[in-house]
Symmetry: C2
Subunit: 360 residues, 2 copies
């Protein structure tokens, strides 16, 4: 078996193309992880470790400060969007099309370039390229690493190179899901007065949702924006039967000044009087921009810092007490879309800014 | 192949047992229809016709008046409830257990007994034993007969021997179904202000349903009772996406003084402002108790006359201009239940009352 070759001396756009052309749908990351591991092992200034299909490369220069720069190697399923295809030139708004260009092999290419070409960074760096971010959290390579080798994730600050339009998005909102359940009593719909309609019982649940007023707290100068939404509703037994159950699945996106427990209390009070079952929960991440390492990074990169509304793996660093930001090439709105693409200029800019921060 | 034997000289309870023990789940009525046809053909006072697995037996005595007495031969699927099992004696509240005892082989047995043993009724009788009542209306034997041979259904009055606790239930309510659809705009639930939640949009649809006030018109002295109920609700795309569609399926049961068209207008006005799509509709049947043949029957049978709330095949007679009632042994609430059964006394009483009406 020949291993796919990655040329870490190529420019980051070319390297993105190479990464995109190694298909790596979640749970099929062996080939790309092999290529990444082989390429990084060639550099004596890096200590390379592998866990499953997650590859960790560390400098060990004895600096007082250590930072993590991380990205996932997997993609959502192929959708007639391979191989990579260039359109235009970087300097004239050109883009690279193809699965994973945006989410997030552009970021991975930047990580690999920095790892290979900055042998003596001004702070120690742990580069992490991990598996299975796009599927059930139980497979998530970063989660598994935090459990098996937390010392490999130890740092003063972390950058997750998820697409953020090459700007800093700090922290992330948390997310939880509950099922709000109404019950009734079945009856033939021709004699409906003998039963209790559980779908009608959900009217008040939906009314409260329509009157929800989103909280928008400002944290470290960033305005977050919560949201409480029904994402599924289901009920019904047969076309001639009053249903005895209706379930509304509600997703609460909460600002990182709430803990998961606080968020759950809020939702339970919001639906007071109803059967509320928690099905899923993940904490937010505070931006942590007051921490020195984060401050220094934001100053070095410049530009506006935005809050991250969606949930990302930065929360896994936050849970370890490590401030973390999202900073990567590509528009997050294009992630998981058939037509995903990344501006080549984003890739180049992210690389240049991080290089400057690590070498200035 | 031996045909199952039916002994029409046996009492009606024994004959019910024999019919129950010929399995006849919808679309598997060949054996029971063969047995019924063979048994009836033995009587020279009957003109027997067969269409598919529907058997029609007519007296042709030249009476001014003709009545139909009808029942379906099929059952819902077997559910560990065959063969028939007797418990107790008719005079002490005994019942016959088993699939189809209630819905409606008790009624079928009465029909066969009358056909065989009343050679010279005081009005001509058309006995109809038909297939496929329990499934999609397109297979319904009575519907097919009304299309292929309407002259075989021609009558001044019709009795459908569906279970009605051996009392007369007149007419039936109509039924229609609509889908009430709300639409929105998808967005990631972490940035919900960018979308419009279609499930939240259904709050007002459900609110109107909770405030629905049922009309209870009195027709021919019978109080009907309408009903408007959500029977299904569905919406949702993914756990992190604002849904762009929510569909509430609503069943309207309407009194027989409304036409299908009137009923549709009512529902469309009720959900004014929403996308309402008619999916299914069947007319009610007026009780027609003011018609001479119906009056005579009700007087002969005696007892209280009740309105029929559920939809039954009496509406097919009503559509042909023939007043029709439900009158048969068994509790309609037990139909389609695993534990269905019929009081033997109901079978005997229905037979005696109809015999008296046809011979007095």
């Amino acid at each position: 078996m020949t291993t796919n070759q990655l040329d870490l001396s190529a420019d980051a756009v070319t390297l993105t193309e190479q990464l995109v052309n190694i298909e790596s749908v979640s749970q099929h990351e062996a080939a790309i992880a092999d290529a990444v591991e082989q390429a990084l092992t060639a550099y004596p200034h890096l200590a390379v470790t592998r866990r499953g299909h997650t590859v960790i490369a560390r400098t060990n220069l004895g600096h007082r400060e250590r930072v993590v720069i991380a990205g996932h190697l997997d993609t959502v399923p192929v959708n007639h969007n391979l191989p990579a295809r260039r359109e235009g030139a970087p300097e004239s708004g050109g883009v690279l099309h193809g699965l994973g260009t945006c989410d997030m092999k552009g970021g991975d290419a930047v990580i690999l370039r920095l790892a290979a070409t900055v042998p003596e960074p001004n702070r120690d760096v742990t580069y992490i390229l991990y598996e299975a971010e796009e599927i059930d959290a139980k497979y998530n390579g970063l989660r598994l690493l935090a459990e098996s080798d937390p010392e490999l994730m130890a740092a003063d600050f972390a950058i997750l190179m998820e697409p953020s339009n090459a700007a800093v998005e700090a922290g992330c909102q948390g997310t939880l899901r509950v099922e709000v359940r109404t019950t009734g009593e079945r009856a033939h719909s021709a004699r409906s007065w003998r039963g209790v309609n559980a779908i009608h019982g959900a009217a008040e649940v939906l009314r409260r949702l329509t009157e929800y007023d989103a909280r928008r707290p400002v944290i470290d100068g960033l305005q977050y924006h919560e949201g409480l939404n029904a994402v599924f509703i289901r009920g019904g037994v047969a076309g001639n039967v009053l249903p005895d159950e209706c379930v509304v699945e509600v997703n609460f996106r909460f600002a990182p000044d709430r803990s998961e427990a606080d968020a759950e209390v809020f939702v339970r009070e919001f639906f007071d009087g109803y059967d509320v079952r928690l099905t899923d929960s993940a904490p937010g991440a505070l931006p942590g921009l007051d921490r020195p390492a984060a401050k220094a990074f934001v100053e070095a990169v410049g530009g506006e810092v935005n809050p991250k509304f969606g949930w990302t793996d930065v929360a896994r660093f936050s849970a370890l007490g490590i401030p973390a930001v999202n900073f990567g090439p590509g528009d997050p709105m294009l992630a998981h879309k058939q037509e995903e693409h990344v501006p080549m200029e984003h890739i180049e800019r992210c690389e240049a800014q991080l290089r400057s921060w690590l070498t200035s």
